[in-house]
Symmetry: C2
Subunit: 196 residues, 2 copies
DNA sequence: AATTGCCCATACGCTGGCGTATTGATACAT
DNA sequence: ATGTATCAATACGCCAGCGTATGGGCAATT
């Protein structure tokens, strides 16, 4: 969303907002997981001290909550606004896949959050977001003329595949198809996962 | 592997071994991730003090290394020994899928490790294990008569799908197909991912 | 009986992150 | 100019986990 002008150089005498803290929390979460959302390290990264933090938030808990809320809102808005105006259901699924395989950062963030589902609050949010995505996919498949029996299965199948792609791409970047190979791979997935 | 007789009741006056510590480390890792591999909490769980731990290991680092080695060995042995004696390549892939969707614990463990790939040592091991699995899958597809161009793509596709299944199943257990639905889902994946 | 080696308990200091309390600085309003 | 609200710095105590040092129990050996 906001191209973060924080980090090293940061004069940026603009006062920090709570949302800026939440966004920064998501940033580090994408790299270091939930545990990386720590007050003092974050403050250092933002070139302030925790004195600032505890003005905006009562405690670390609140920051995590805010970050999760921000993430959920981003994801939900993304899905609903961007994609739903495409009339063709086939193209809608294609767009979903494109999006999933493009924004690296969002992918890493999802995986980081999904890895922290031992935390109850995280689990709730991840479940909601995943359920929404699944429901959306199912709707697409039904719009393609698929029955109420098959559609959920195909939706789960497709969703699992593109979550798995993010995972595999992150874990073994070397073996993951790249360049022209990727375009082939992409087409293969599409024609396999969208029966018509 | 070993049905852990540790935990609460534990009289078990058998002295602990380094491998027992490593196994316990993997256990907690499957639930709480890499950060959960902490010396003192683990010692409590094993009904000893860290005095024991620091006899077997020089430090936490060594424990993590040992746990990773144990995991890699388990995974590799699993893949090579159990599956490779099946002659039919089709059935081999089926067995792989069955295995992936059966042992919950192993799945959670993989996801936990994959989530900690910011740690260099973890990343190396995960990469090796994933690469081995992918290579194995590719060999299966080639044995099915697939060309050197297509086989890696299908292997990646299949691997991503069953990694994604573990992920989705963990993150949204409610929406994941269960019981008879799952058998349908399973068959759908098989006939889609194994062209013949 | 004494010794040696294996395995673990206890006690200690160190570090990093959490949360609080207090003070400081800048902007804006009056 | 002076006061007030907003945002941040500093200093403090607390806790949990890491690593060390040292000693204790309990075999097996001699």
């Amino acid at each position: 969303m906001s191209p973060n002008d924080l980090n090293e150089p940061g004069p940026s005498k603009q006062s920090l907002t709570a949302e800026a803290w939440a966004a920064a929390a998501l940033d580090v979460m994408a790299v270091g997981g939930l545990e990386a959302v720590a007050v003092e390290p974050l403050a250092r990264k933002l070139n302030v001290t925790k004195g600032s933090f505890y003005w905006h938030f009562p405690n670390r808990e609140a920051l995590v909550k805010a970050a999760l809320a921000l993430w959920e809102q981003r994801e939900t808005v993304d899905v609903v606004s961007g994609l739903d105006q495409e009339p063709d259901p086939y193209q809608r699924i294609v767009n979903l896949f494109k999006r999933a395989n493009s924004s690296h950062k969002a992918g890493r963030l999802y995986l980081a959050l999904a890895a922290a589902t031992d935390d109850v609050r995280v689990n709730e949010v991840v479940q909601r977001v995943s359920a929404r995505r699944l429901a959306y996919l199912e709707k697409c498949y039904r719009a393609l003329g698929m029955g109420a029996e098959e559609a959920p299965l195909w939706a789960t199948f497709a969703y699992a595949t593109f979550i798995g792609n993010q995972q595999v791409h992150r874990d073994t970047p070397h073996t993951f198809p790249a360049g022209p190979k990727f375009r082939e791979y992409f087409k293969l997935m599409l024609r396999t996962l969208i029966p018509q």
